[in-house]
């Protein structure tokens, strides 16, 4: 059973078909990049997958459960329990430290655990910046805090919206390296991007144009590149 399955979903705003009869499957542990130009429906698809919006028609199955007709209240619970969100703009609470920003996600999920939050920051290389406010962190560091926050509740799916869109090349590489590690550990990743370099490092790339999936590209070099790292991580 696929972790995520979109069955003929459409999202219509008036006369605009933001998504038009789109179907997609994402398996557990898979790393999928969704690419396309502006206005192609990437953000709409991300919102639907991320339980922040509902399709006009079609079904969204997450772990085999149809969530397309769920109430807002239930969608909030699904988002909290199963999905980790990473944003292009980072969206950190600017009066909380890096550590507290990670703990906020724990607070709304279960119980804040400072040691666990610190471990998440250590994992993204920010243990020494835990007590810093977002304004005292660089863009790359803020994005890594955002990733730590997305990971803290062990979600089944990490959903990233243009995660490197606001980063320089060095920080982009750091973030992609973290994604590689997460994938190696078996985390399912769906990354929405318009950056071909980010799309190329994914296992599979889905291209959206005018609300339809026009192409799916399996990155043939992916297995060759990641197999050693994957084996090492799993050992």
């Amino acid at each position: 059973m696929s972790l995520l399955e979109l069955k003929s979903i459409s999202k219509i705003y008036g006369d605009l078909h933001a998504l038009d009869n789109v179907s997609l499957k994402v398996e557990k542990g898979e790393w999928v990049a969704i690419m396309g130009p502006s206005g192609s429906g990437k953000s709409t698809m991300m919102n639907i997958i991320g339980c922040m919006d509902k399709p006009t028609s079609g079904q969204v199955l997450l772990d085999g459960v149809d969530i397309s007709k769920e109430s807002d209240r239930n969608l909030t619970a699904i988002r909290r329990d199963k999905i980790g969100l990473i944003f292009q703009q980072f969206h950190l609470v600017n009066y909380l430290t890096a550590l507290e920003n990670v703990m906020v996600a724990q607070y709304y999920h279960s119980v804040p655990d400072e040691a666990e939050a610190m471990e998440a920051l250590r994992r993204v290389g920010l243990a020494d910046r835990a007590k810093h406010l977002p304004s005292q962190l660089s863009g790359g560091e803020q994005q890594r805090v955002c990733i730590a926050r997305a990971l803290i509740n062990y979600p089944e799916l990490i959903l990233a919206d243009e995660p490197t869109g606001n980063l320089d090349e060095a920080n982009e590489n750091i973030v992609l390296e973290i994604f590689r590690q997460l994938h190696a550990e078996g985390t399912t990743l769906v990354v929405v991007t318009h950056d071909p370099e980010v799309g190329e490092v994914a296992q599979r790339t889905v291209v959206l144009e005018y609300g339809k999936i026009t192409r799916e590209i399996h990155n043939e070099s992916f297995e060759a590149k990641t197999a050693p790292a994957l084996a090492e991580a799993r050992n």
Binding site: S43, N47, G50, M52, D53, R73, T76, A77, R79, R80, D81, L85, F87, Q89, H91, L92, V93, N94, Y95, L96, E100, M103, V104, A105, Y107, Y108, H109, P112, R149
Partner: protein, 430 residues
Amino acid sequence: MFFRMIRGAFVRQKGKMLMIALTIALGASLATAMLNVMLDVGDKINQELKTYGANITVVPKSSSVLNNLYEVEGGEEAQEAFLREDELGKIKTIFWAFNIVDFAPFIDTTADLDSGEEVRLVGTWFNHHLDLPTGEMLDTGVANLRTWWDISDGVWLDEQAESDPNAAMIGAMVARREGVGAGDTLHVKTRYGEADLKVVGVFDAGSDEDEEIYAPMDLVQALSDTDGYLTSIEVSALTTPDNELAIKAAKDPSALSVSQYETWYCTAYVSSICYQIQEVITDSVASPVRQVADSEGAILEKTEFLMVLITILSLVGSGLGICNLVTASVMERSNEIGLLKAIGAKDSAISGIVLTEIVLTGIVGAVIGYFVGFGFAQIIGHTVFGSSIEMKAMVIPIVAMLTVAVTLAGSIPAIRMLLRLRPAEVLHGR
């Protein structure tokens, strides 16, 4: 984490929170001031209104019947009925004795002047010292009941200092016609005697009283052969505005049930005070001077209504201010709220944070407002009534409840907006 977020919001939005606290403080201060003044002002306004003169007149029963039947005042038959001077002190022994501020007895007769003119000669107390049956002492008389008299020549007659028993005050018209002033002597003659009055003051009342002569009670009683008797008493009493019960009781107290009677009797309605005066003054009828009593009641009610209105308007204004500020605060934090929703916060959890912030701010504002408002009340008390306003404990819970209610009501639009915020829209800047 909850309190870290509250603290963080306070620190980050301290300017806006300060504005909200000040807005609440403004509303709370006006509410505190108005409520304190309103609860304390009844007696003060009543005291002020006493300058309008007596609000109860007491006359002999037979005289009252004639007045009621023929709508006339005075007359020979009426003059034959009297009240007893030795019962005057009993007025200060009734249930509402402390509400009797002043009273003055009157005896009147007609007298001839040397010029051949006939004038009304009124005997009364000016500032009479009275030892009450209760052991208390009281100085009362027309000096307190005719505060509007303009003494155009001489001074008020001071009964306690004046050694001449024939000292008198004359109306301005009499003084002008007879060509006398303060220090002069005026000869008067009645059926029962005559006297040389020493004029100590000439008053201008702006009424028929300007045609009269006011002299000490004993002198006029002697000149009218009515020792120990009175024709009327004027009483100034602090009263409560009439309501339906008072109106019903004024018509016929016997028509009241026992509990209604007790309520009426133990409330300072003008009718219940009249009733109690009648109980202690033999064969008397005490009746309110309706124009004065009604005016006092109306002014008191209107003043209280005005204060309630100011309180309501200030709270409404405060609520609108809070509404704007909290809505602006939520709009400013829409990204943060959208993020919290996106990572799984329930609407109730986010509303809880915002409401906790606002209520904490409201408490600070209310405490500041209470003390500032109490200061306002003192300013009003000293400026308008010339005395302090007592701090009423019951105002504290009332202001607290009003503040919380207004704060929460003012936050409703912001909370509605917060609930409508969709994380997908705010996080994508839409």
